[in-house]
Symmetry: C2
Subunit: 203 residues, 2 copies
């Protein structure tokens, strides 16, 4: 709700151009990598005049951030009423989001747009990720269950996923994501056995 990007004239051609540019951006990021995406290239691909792109977005970072930001308005997670299941769900969602072609690229784009927006981009991106987990935690808390802090979830679940995707570590899959959650939850009450802890060595 805060900044609604006061777009006068949201319909018609304007919207078409916006959509075409967004699509072209996603495509190009997948094809050549976010580093090599340029505004003229996007414009060509979208069948739009470069100056239009420059006037609206200005820089590739801004464009990438815009595209990334829009993606967040997608599925709302339905909560199952079981903390472990809900966290697992969020973890898998996060992993999927990061793993898809260009996923990390968009993640990074949100993190590193122009210096001014950098802080804002960081926070927004983190919040996006956090939201899913926060919802699960709050629901559990409302049920009176003992829950880990969000911070703990970030350290124990999100950070490893992010790290493993960035470094393309093998076997970073759904099972692994759920395993991280399980391990976190098992450590909650008192102790608990470590469920067949992670495997894989870097090589």
């Amino acid at each position: 709700m805060p900044a609604k990007s006061k777009d006068t004239r949201p319909g018609g051609r304007s919207a078409r151009v916006r959509a075409a540019v967004h699509r072209a951006t996603v495509d190009l990021v997948q094809e050549v990598g976010a580093d090599k995406v340029t505004l003229p290239a996007v414009a060509r691909r979208a069948g739009v005049n470069p100056s239009s792109v420059y006037r609206r977005w200005g820089t590739t970072s801004a464009l990438l951030a815009d595209v990334a930001a829009q993606r967040k308005d997608e599925a709302a997670p339905e909560l199952l009423g079981d903390l472990r299941a809900d966290l697992g769900h969020a973890a898998v969602w996060t992993l999927t989001d990061l793993s898809r072609p260009g996923g990390v690229a968009f993640f990074r784009a949100e993190v590193a747009p122009d210096v001014d927006d950098r802080r804002a981009g960081l926070r927004e991106c983190l919040e996006r990720v956090s939201t899913r987990f926060q919802a699960a935690l709050e629901a559990a808390a409302r049920r009176g269950e003992e829950t880990p802090s969000l911070d703990r979830v970030l350290d124990r679940v999100v950070a490893p996923l992010y790290f493993r995707v960035v470094f393309s570590l093998p076997e970073t899959d759904e099972e692994y994501a759920r395993g991280l959650v399980a391990e976190l939850c098992d450590g909650l009450p008192a102790s608990g056995q470590l469920p067949d802890s992670p495997r894989t060595t870097p090589e």
Copy 2:
């Protein structure tokens, strides 16, 4: 030891140029951000002819990776003979490395040099980080102690550090790094209390 960058003519002017370019690179990364560093800019800053820079490094990614790679040949960690202390040492070192100006940028540069070298860059970078921890683990293993796997160290210590630095989460300091190690080690033998687990919420 593997690739020693077969430099014929490592001394004199050549070395001076190399040093000047490296210094200029570090400076520029800090000042304008790694995204906006260009070879001509580096050359100007270094007082060197652009073509020299192009001929030697070719691309900014290569240059950044080279600068980053050189940084790794610094302190060798002396092992104290105590797993927790050694891992803590490595964790703090990692945190320091990431936290210094441009730290994350250089880290990324190693991870994402030009697409071809990507895989190689990934592995090398990961190995660089891993080495410190691996040494501590192996020393402990030789003493017959029970040790976590390297993989586990990556998930529980390195990943959170990396994540928190990238997102500029507050209170990501030495104490925190040591806390991660402590928590990992405490979970080792059987159970163990969680040492006043992590604090801080994203906001």
